[in-house]
């Protein structure tokens, strides 16, 4: 399972590196013909980080590599791949950092736990303020 995926990643990276410039840019800023596919591609783009920019998603970046990553996403969506498997490919390629949608792991758990616990704490603080209905 893991080895073929890794192999695929390496192959894709190699392909991206050697692909002639004209071909690489085919889908960078040209939309997919199917509006549903384009919507899915666009939604994914807004949650993938541009790896050379400062805190921008590839959907809002002028950097060349962001354009290539957009092209990559559109090609894969057009080929029928699911957005989440494309995200997984990017994460494998660039690390968790590339996805703006953190996965729920031990390291990322506080992102949800701290707000949830704070809300509970706030409710507990607020309770004595209320007088019971007579």
């Amino acid at each position: 399972m893991k080895a073929p995926a890794l192999l695929k990643a390496v192959l894709m990276a190699a392909l991206l590196a050697v692909a002639p410039a004209a071909a690489a840019g085919r889908y960078n800023d040209v939309q997919l013909a199917d509006p549903a596919q384009e919507r899915a591609a666009k939604a994914l783009m807004t949650s993938i980080r541009c790896v050379v920019c400062r805190g921008q998603s590839i959907a809002d970046s002028n950097a060349d590599i962001a354009g290539d990553m957009r092209g990559e996403i559109r090609e894969r969506i057009a080929a029928g791949e699911s957005p989440e498997s494309i995200r997984a490919w990017f994460i494998q390629h660039y690390g968790d950092w590339v996805s703006f949608q953190p996965r729920f792991t031990e390291a990322s758990a506080p992102l949800w736990l701290i707000p949830a616990l704070s809300l509970l704490f706030g409710v507990a603080l607020a309770r004595p303020l209320f007088r019971k209905r007579r």
Partner: protein
């Protein structure tokens, strides 16, 4: 000479702040109470000196004095005068000097205007304001001297980040700083009242105009920043959950909560401890915002300072002030009397819910912004937290908050009956049902969050007008109008956000001259390109002929600008505003000699986002006028009546 004069004035201002704190501390004791009248004079003198220092820096920038290090590294003689002026605070040192100048001015205004609080509380407030200022003076003088000389002088400057050379952004930082500083005054009032054990409606009435004023500036600052990002970054987005945006959103969330709880304290003598706590939190968030932007901890266009010692200094200030305030809070909260009681279904109950939900959203934004930084600092794990996290965590809380906002103003103070609330909400609920039917029938496909947004906006908009029904509009108090306008603004803004995310049409094309494409109701024809020279840039200018239906066609000019000092390319989008939305066009440099990438968006009702922001600020302004009229002049009128 000007630089030396500025530095001397800054040192004197710092010395006066020390004096102000020392006098205040002495005067609060029983033996030297006679010193109290001296404090306002010292506060005013401090503000004047710091103001002089700031004006000196402005003069240095406007004269392009390249023998001053800060000017040489951040300005350029060919820059337009407006950006030489605004460039004063487009850098680390200058913006911190602006911060402390506004802080000192805030202290002076308290000294001059505040007449209702007991003398001791006012003295303690001014001492607290001085204590805050001292930290920032030290930061400026010891680690960020804006007046340092450069010898020999540079032949010319290195220029200002081109993204910042925009009228919107030139006045964005001062607006936010006015908001931050307003929060610092509210905080000083809270500290003063804790010190003198004087927490009550009087404190709330003194604090409220400052909270309202700060909130208005924060609202305007965030709206302006969002619009700047929208047209300047060139991808049609208006909020990116960038840490710098979050840094301005967090104080706003806390200020919004404080604004509502301070009203409970002023009107009903309720929620005293919460109000104090929220004023501590609101100021802390202003400090955290300053820290995030100014310490260089973020890697984003806004972080011009990349010096770890400065970061440590601000972090230290943050720890001292927030820690000190929390300690004082813990020591003195026992002396704060518990407020008047109320039942769950009451105006107070809704406002408590408002406070809880706003605080919940605040924690989401705070954790989402700071946790990745902390995690990376702790063990090097890099994690990205962006729009998917914030939208899915804060979005539902925000929708709930808006529903509470619809019901809150229709509730009575202290106790109310669920059945009568339901009766008052009948029409908004009908509107909600009708909106739901209409959207589902005519506007599909639409995803869940925009659907909820549109429907909620319709219902909340209707409900926000309800406090005016069956009322004599001419005799409705100004602050009630303010509340209605601000709440309606929230609904308008929400409608714009939902419409933009649900109905935007995007067309990305690579066009040759002469080609035509359609986007939304418009047809866009690429007529020609030309080179346009600017003062410190040259631009590729595309001329596009735009026509909607049978209306008269017009021409739009998006540009791709290349700046020389420093070298950088920016997109200048061209935006046409119609009553029902905006057409947004962007051109970039051609891939070959004939094909120009052009991005086109039709964004229905996107303008409502910022219109709502302006309405919120306007509502805040009406409320401020109404409160000042009743709290300040009403009080004087009553006093005059009593004297007569």
């Amino acid at each position: 000479m000007i630089a030396e004069l500025g530095l001397a004035a800054l040192w004197l201002g710092a010395a006066l702040a020390l004096l102000q704190l020392a006098l205040g501390a002495l005067a609060l004791g029983t033996r030297h109470a006679g010193l109290q009248p001296a404090l306002p004079a010292v506060a005013v003198a401090q503000a004047v000196l710091t103001g002089i220092a700031f004006l000196c820096l402005v003069a240095l920038f406007m004269r392009s004095d390249m023998s001053v290090l800060l000017v040489a590294t951040n300005s350029h003689s060919a820059k337009p005068m407006l950006y030489k002026f605004a460039g004063t605070w487009g850098n680390h040192e200058g913006s911190m000097l602006l911060w402390v100048s506004i802080l000192a001015a805030g202290g002076a205004l308290v000294a001059l205007l505040e007449r209702r609080l007991p003398m001791r509380t006012k003295t303690a407030t001014l001492a607290a304001q001085a204590a805050i200022a001292i930290g920032f003076y030290a930061f400026l003088l010891f680690s960020s001297n804006p007046f340092a000389r450069l010898n020999p002088a540079a032949p010319d400057g290195q220029g200002l980040n081109p993204l910042l050379q925009d009228p919107g952004l030139a006045f964005h930082p001062p607006t936010l700083y006015l908001g931050y500083v307003g929060m610092s005054v509210a905080f000083s009032f809270a500290v003063g009242a804790l010190v003198t054990r004087d927490v009550g409606p009087g404190l709330a009435r003194a604090m409220r105009p400052w909270v309202l004023g700060a909130w208005i500036f924060l609202t305007l600052g965030i709206s302006a920043g969002s619009y700047w990002a929208y047209y300047e970054l060139g991808w049609g987005g208006w909020w990116f959950w960038d840490p710098v945006e979050n840094a301005s959103l967090m104080p706003w969330l806390a200020a919004t909560a404080l604004l509502h709880s301070v009203t409970v304290l002023a009107t009903r003598n309720g929620l005293p401890a919460w109000t104090i706590m929220l004023s501590v939190v609101a100021f802390s968030m202003s400090m955290v915002g300053t820290f995030l932007v100014r310490s260089g901890i973020l890697t984003s266009v806004h972080s011009f300072a990349v010096d770890p010692t400065r970061g440590a200094f601000i972090l230290g200030l943050l720890a001292v002030y927030i820690g000190g305030a929390m300690a004082l809070f813990a020591l003195r909260i026992g002396t704060v009397q518990s407020g008047s009681p109320f039942e769950p279904v009451s105006r107070e109950g809704a406002l408590v819910l408002n406070n809880l939900l706003l605080s919940g959203i605040l924690v989401v934004v705070l954790v989402g912004t700071l946790y990745p930084l902390a995690l990376e600092a702790a063990n090097g794990t890099r994690l990205s937290v962006g729009a998917p996290y914030f939208n899915s965590s804060a979005g539902p809380l925000a929708l709930l908050l808006l529903l509470v906002m619809a019901a809150g103003p229709l509730l009575r103070w202290r106790r109310d009956h669920p059945a009568s609330l339901a009766a008052r909400l009948a029409i908004p609920v009908l509107v909600l049902a009708a909106a739901l039917l209409l959207v589902v029938a005519f506007l599909r496909p639409i995803s869940l969050l925009p659907l909820l947004g549109l429907v909620t906006a319709a219902a909340v908009g209707t409900a926000s007008l309800a406090p005016l029904w069956r009322r004599n509009l001419a005799r409705t108090p100004l602050f009630t109008w303010g509340m209605v306008v601000a709440h309606l603004g929230c609904a308008v803004s929400l409608a714009g956000m939902a419409a933009d995310s649900a109905f935007t049409k995007e067309v990305l094309v690579s066009l040759q001259v002469g080609e035509t494409r359609r986007v939304g109701p418009y047809s866009v024809t690429f007529r020609q390109v030309s080179e346009v020279p600017g003062p410190n840039w040259s631009a590729l200018d595309a001329e596009l002929l735009v026509q909607r239906g049978s209306q008269a066609p017009f021409v739009m000019h998006p540009q791709s600008r290349t700046f020389t000092d420093p070298p950088m390319e920016t997109n200048e989008s061209a935006i046409a505003t119609a009553w029902d939305g905006q057409l947004y066009l962007v051109v970039s440099a051609p891939q070959d000699d004939i094909h120009y990438p052009i991005r086109m968006w039709w964004k229905p009702f996107v303008t409502l986002i910022w219109l709502g922001g302006i309405m919120m600020a306007l509502g805040g302004g009406l409320a401020l006028l109404g409160r000042v009229d009743r709290d300040v002049f009403g009080w004087r009128r009553r006093l005059a009546g009593r004297a007569a």
